[in-house]
């Protein structure tokens, strides 16, 4: 068993003192530099998953790889982008860094995500002295695995694509042969290299901003300010953790399966121990790593638990190297949350999304006003590929589907939102989908009755129905039918997901996970995503709220009758 703590290395106290005004100025400057880097990346990216989905993150690190400033970015990239530059140093030593070098890495066991998440990073020098790092990570559409885009049934990492690094992408200002290797190995070289350049542009902006700050204030002042910024963050979080009543709390949930052995659920177990101003998350009792691709590296498990922690402890601030110091995480090597090579990692996040909600479930008795019931819980992915005869080109698509979120004390859950690991991802407009890919979206609607009943009702999922207008293949990764979104404090669980292919025909069949299945022109795929859990006893729900729900079609008249004993008077006009 490996015990991993998320605590940063002790910082040596800098003799330089820095006044609170300079500290605050630098705190603002570092955060805004990271946000500006992110804007550059998003606006010059070539892939929809980055520019529409925001599946990316950027950060500025100090020379000890601690986060100085980070964009809001994808939550699951929280707190592991720094592992990349660290990995280089562990392998090659600290003297490896050179000005005008840029590095790249996508190793799932180092970065902790899947191969599609590519990190590009560079040392930042001022007058020949290493002052820190600029780093960016984004999702690349295709890494040359056995299936286009992503596989739902991979059983080792080699089937999922090529693994890099860390290796040099740019050496002394010149692109290396790695660029050629990437272009040769991806199915979409043009798009991929475009995204790569967008990431490098973001890095450059970060480097320039950091250099400006170092030149203006001096490295010693910045480092002293850093220590103070981290101290403030740490102090805030210690205070918040101290407010949580001491005790041992726990929660568990199940993934439906690993995508290979479909009838065996995967247990995830969390024990939370709160003692004074310290909090420990232990997930060592979770399942062993699986044959199918639902594994992740330790770094990623830590990220997910940090997200769960942050939601309850420090939701409003951007993270930095002082964050998460009250938190200790225990992960077992060889488990689904601490996978080792050559475990398949394509769907590394399904259990992580559930784990984030499990933190709230475990701590609900301690923090009833701050938690929410569970959300629909996963990205609910549909992929497709084929030849588009309208334009005479190949296409590949990947979309996440929206679902319902859990209710909390004082409000109903929200309907049709992206899941927790996908941040500010938006759905793709129908007009864009139908223009770019040979589909017709026949229905896109809020799915009534899918949220759990409660004093406060869970939000509803959505229905999205596709018709193929050309021959192709498709894949599905839908989760959380075994443990749909749970309610809290007497609120009901939500309805889970459901996918029907060719509904109402002799060919009709239902499935939640499928890999590269052929779909002839005219095939219909109807996706229905689950809702969020309810909060509190449904009997206590205000009947005026039920009436509103029925009138607006969020709850059917029948469901209102059975859940709330409410009879809807149909207006006789």
């Amino acid at each position: 068993m490996t015990s991993t703590t998320a605590t940063a290395p002790p910082v040596t106290v800098d003799p330089v003192t820095v006044d609170p005004v300079t500290v605050e100025i630098l705190r603002n400057a570092l955060t805004s530099a990271a946000e500006d880097m992110n804007a550059t990346l998003i606006r010059s990216a070539y892939s929809m998953i980055i520019y529409e989905g925001g599946d990316c993150v950027v950060a500025l690190l100090d020379k000890h790889h601690q986060v100085l400033g980070q964009s809001a970015g994808l939550p699951l990239f929280l707190g592991n982008i720094e592992t990349c530059s660290k990995a280089v140093e562990e392998k090659y030593g600290r003297d490896v860094w050179r000005d005008d070098d840029v590095w790249i890495l996508n190793d799932a066991y180092i970065g902790g995500t899947h191969l599609n998440d590519v990190t590009i990073f560079a040392p930042v020098f001022v007058d020949g002295v290493l002052v820190g790092f600029s780093a960016t990570r984004a999702h690349w559409m295709d890494m040359g695995g056995k299936d286009v885009g992503a596989s739902m049934d991979s059983t080792d990492i080699f089937q999922e694509g090529f693994r890099m690094g860390p290796v040099k992408l740019i050496s002394q200002g010149v692109e290396t042969d790695v660029v050629e290797l990437i272009q040769t190995n991806t199915r979409f070289p043009y798009q991929t290299v475009g995204d790569m350049h967008a990431m490098i542009a973001a890095l450059r902006m970060g480097s320039i901003r950091m250099q400006e700050l170092v030149r203006k204030y001096g490295l010693d002042v910045i480092e002293a300010a850093r220590d103070e910024i981290f101290r403030q963050t740490e102090e805030l979080e210690l205070e918040r953790v101290r407010e949580i009543p001491d005790g041992v709390y726990s929660a568990e949930g199940y993934l439906d399966n690993d995508g290979i052995t479909l009838d065996v659920p995967i247990p995830i177990k969390l024990t939370v121990t709160v003692s004074g101003n310290q909090i420990e998350f232990d997930v060592t009792e979770s399942a062993d790593q699986t044959q199918g691709p639902v594994n992740c590296g330790v770094a990623q498990a830590i990220s997910a638990l940090r997200v769960g922690y942050k939601i309850l402890v420090s939701p409003e601030t951007n993270s930095n190297g002082g964050s998460f110091r009250p938190l200790t995480v225990k992960v077992r090597e060889g488990s689904v949350l601490g996978a080792v090579a050559p475990a398949a990692c394509q769907w590394y996040f399904s259990h992580l999304g559930m784990l984030i909600d499990m933190v709230s479930r475990a701590l609900a008795p301690a923090l009833p006003d701050r938690v929410a019931a569970a959300s629909h819980g996963d990205s609910m992915i549909i992929t497709s590929a084929g030849f588009d005869p309208r334009v005479g080109r190949n296409w590949v698509s990947m979309e996440a589907t929206l679902g319902g979120w859990g209710a909390w004390e004082g409000a109903d859950g929200e309907s049709a939102l992206i899941n927790n690991v996908n941040g500010s991802l938006q759905d793709f407009p129908i007009e864009m989908v139908e223009t770019k890919w040979p589909f017709r979206i026949r229905e896109y609607s809020i799915r009534p009755d899918s949220g759990g009943a409660g004093r406060w009702r869970g939000g509803n999922g959505v229905i999205r129905e596709y018709e193929f207008l050309a021959d192709g293949v498709f894949g599905l990764w839908f989760e959380r039918s075994t443990t749909p979104a749970w309610g809290l404090f007497g609120g009901d669980d939500a309805v889970g997901p459901e996918v029907v292919i060719d509904p109402g025909t002799p060919e009709e069949f239902r499935t939640l996970k499928v890999n590269a299945r052929p779909a002839a022109k005219g095939t219909i795929i109807r996706l229905a995503v689950g809702g969020g859990g309810g909060y509190g006893n449904p009997e206590e729900r205000d009947l005026e709220a039920v009436r509103y729900d029925v009138e607006n079609g969020f709850v059917s008249a029948e469901q209102a009758q059975s859940d709330y004993g409410y009879t809807h008077d149909v207006p006789t006009s």
């Binding site: 609170p20 005004v21 542009a201 101290r231 403030q232 049709a416 864009m432």
Partner: protein, 684 residues
């Protein structure tokens, strides 16, 4: 005979009115109290206090916040939304992003239409605009009857692919009008925003439907009152994209006027370029609660093609204004032993501690006051006494926690606020590939001139400009505007698929229609002009850059696509620091802007100085911890040609300009203060 050109800019508290006497060349500015509920009363009252006979007005322009206020206060009309059957939940799904990532209790922006007020209408186009399912006219008629029966105030229509084929939306309006009458507000998504992305386009139409009737009845009322008082000149309205419209056009397309008020500053900046001889200006407007930055690049206001209002999107041409929560009322506080300033504001109640209304937390205004940078005698035109003891004790309360004395605390608060404002300027310049040091900073609004020189110093900007009437700069700018109308035409092709002859034909068609629209605004042919641009991106990208074209005929020129690709690559390189010359490009949208030149007020001139002396006194003001002898003068005491160096403070009724040591001030013939960083030298 005397004749006047007049502008009126309605703000939350005050309505600014600027008059220009065409006979004497004199400008005057005044503030009238805004009269919520019946805005035209305050507007007319203010006007009549400036001009005895309103019949002498021969040009009148208005920046109105009527639509914006109706939106912000949720006082719009009840809207029925007709949307493509099967996907009619698009408006409520709202694309589903979570904008606060660590908030498990996140709620979407509150929609303007309830779900039960959305009607699915059968009828469908394919992606290329060809009809797949005909419009269900009976369903439209039924919806119209419902709107009538249930008393809806407007109908919005948002069908898929209407930007490719508007026929279903147009036919829908015909049917609605048959039932509801010609005066009933119907907002069609392809008219509100002729671009793809159904949610954003529908949202634009809904906002227009929701606020349109309110704007319309206000304009009708104001026009009637002006006419009754003998005003014959047509009323012009400031539009969100800059430029003005006649009130008649604004009634048809009220969405264009939604941000009519806030854009005035950018338009003022545009007018100022002609006076100060620098085409590149950064406008900073600081009020009590917020700090707005806008840009004029190459003499033209920087415009975006979309914006959001309280999270709800609008696709329309709109002057780009970057706003952060930093203002005179921003509160300084301590968190975990660290200093924070804002974003919370003390607002008007209780306001800064020095207002003596019970505020106990120190604000940016308190800090400026204690440093001697606010004129306590003449604050708000002498209408308010400032309480120094209250300001000092508020500063002490926070300073004690950080080990700061009062003066250190006050300067610290100003420095943090200045750095936040400087970051906001960096965000809309440096991070978009624009070098701020090539710009002059223009300061306006009540608090802008108090901080602007510090921002210029931080950013390495050589010159700061404080125009005449900084408090009424927006209203002044409106007087300088031209009529401007923007047209978009979706035109989505990969470069190798473009038929350049067709592209030219489409552009010329739009140009003809657009120029004709100016005729109906009363602009003579000689004063009409058109310019074209095209949105370009690399194949597969979503965000685009708008690249200007030489003319509607340019696409037919030899090597046009190569030229366009090169122009795009150059713009892309400037913006993002990389580009791929020769890579396939897509064009997305054709844009045409027509301008109807209006005669503008001649530049105002002030008297020349008769000698270097001007009336002033010397007071102690604190800069960098030092109490320095500082020149304090009234703006009206300054004449063209006066020059002095900081530290200095220039006081006028609506603003105070603070000039720290190391800067010189020159007064030009228009009365503009040109403040130069002595270290960076004067222009070669």
């Amino acid at each position: 005979m005397t004749s006047y050109r007049v502008s009126m800019d309605i703000g939350g508290t005050f309505t600014d009115i600027v008059t220009f006497n065409e006979a004497t060349g004199e400008f005057r500015a005044t503030k009238a109290s805004t009269t919520p509920g019946q805005l035209s009363t305050g507007v007319l009252g203010g006007l009549e206090s400036m001009i005895d006979d309103l019949a002498e007005i021969d040009f009148i322009v208005h920046g109105t916040t009527q639509g914006l206020n109706a939106f912000l206060e949720r006082r719009g009309v009840r809207v029925l939304l007709l949307a493509t059957d099967g996907v009619q939940d698009v408006y409520h799904i709202a694309r589903g992003p979570r904008m606060r990532l660590y908030d498990a209790q996140y709620r979407k922006p509150e929609p303007l239409v309830e779900r039960k007020d959305v009607v699915g209408i059968a009828g469908r186009f394919q992606y290329d605009g060809s009809e797949l399912v005909p419009l269900d006219e009976a369903a439209v008629r039924e919806a119209a009857e419902r709107a009538k029966r249930e008393g809806y105030g407007a109908v919005a229509v948002g069908y898929l692919f209407s930007y490719r084929n508007p026929s279903h939306e147009l036919r829908t309006r015909e049917i609605l009008r048959e039932v509801l009458g010609d005066d009933f507000t119907v907002s069609l998504s392809h008219e509100a925003a002729k671009e793809w992305r159904e949610y954003e386009r529908t949202s634009s139409a809904v906002i227009e439907a929701y606020t349109g009737p309110v704007v319309r009845s206000y304009l009708v009322d104001l026009e009637q009152k002006l006419t009754a008082r003998g005003v014959e000149a047509p009323l012009h309205i400031m539009q969100s994209s800059g430029g003005v419209l006649t009130a008649r056009s604004a009634r048809e397309r009220p969405l264009q006027t939604l941000l009519s008020g806030p854009v005035g500053g950018a338009i003022g900046g545009e007018a100022l370029t002609k006076i100060v001889g620098n085409d590149n200006l950064i406008g900073v407007d600081m009020g009590g609660t917020s700090f707005d930055v806008s840009l004029v690049v190459n003499g033209v206001p920087d415009v975006s093609t979309e914006a959001t209002l309280e999270g709800l999107p609008m696709l329309m041409s709109i002057v780009n204004i970057h706003t952060i929560g930093a203002g005179g009322g921003s509160v300084a506080w301590v968190e975990a032993g660290g200093l924070r300033v804002g974003p919370r504001s003390a607002g008007a109640q209780p306001g800064p501690a020095c207002y003596g209304r019970g505020g106990t937390e120190p604000t940016v205004t308190d800090a400026n006051f204690v440093l001697g940078r606010v004129d306590a005698e003449n604050f708000a035109g002498g209408q308010m006494r400032l309480d120094r003891d209250a300001a000092v004790s508020a500063l002490e309360s926070v300073g004690a926690k950080l080990g700061f004395g009062v003066v250190e605390m006050a300067e610290g608060i100003c420095n943090v606020a200045n750095s936040q404002m400087a970051q906001a300027i960096r965000t809309i310049t440096i991070s978009r590939g624009i070098e701020p040091r090539d710009f002059s900073l223009v300061a306006f609004g009540g608090a802008g001139p108090m901080h602007a020189v510090f921002l210029a110093k931080e950013l390495g900007i050589r010159e700061t400009i404080v125009p005449r009437f900084p408090g009424a700069f927006s209203a002044w700018g409106m007087l300088q505007g031209d009529i401007r109308r923007d047209f978009t035409e979706p035109y989505y092709f990969l470069d190798e698929d473009i038929d350049t002859t067709d592209m030219s034909r489409v552009l010329r068609g739009v140009e003809t229609e657009a120029l004709a629209s100016l005729e109906s605004e009363g602009i003579p042919a000689a004063d009409r002009s058109a310019e074209h641009a095209v949105d370009v991106r690399y194949l597969g990208q979503e965000y685009f850059l708008t690249v200007p074209l030489e003319s509607a005929d340019e696409p037919m020129a030899e090597h046009f696509l190569d030229d366009l690709g090169a122009r795009f690559a150059k713009a892309y390189e400037a913006r993002y620091g990389h580009s791929t010359l020769g890579a396939p490009i897509e064009i997305v949208t054709l844009r045409t802007r027509v301008v109807g030149r209006l005669e503008s007020a001649n530049a105002f001139l002030i008297a020349a100085a008769e000698g270097p002396e001007f009336a002033h006194e010397i007071r102690k003001v604190i800069f960098d911890g030092q109490e320095l002898d500082t020149v304090v003068t009234e703006r009206d005491a300054l004449r063209a040609g006066h020059v002095f160096t900081g530290p200095a403070i220039v006081i006028e009724a609506t603003a105070t300009t603070v000039v720290p040591p190391g800067f010189s001030v020159a007064v030009d013939e228009h009365g503009t203060l040109i403040i130069t960083n002595l270290e960076l030298g004067s222009e070669a």
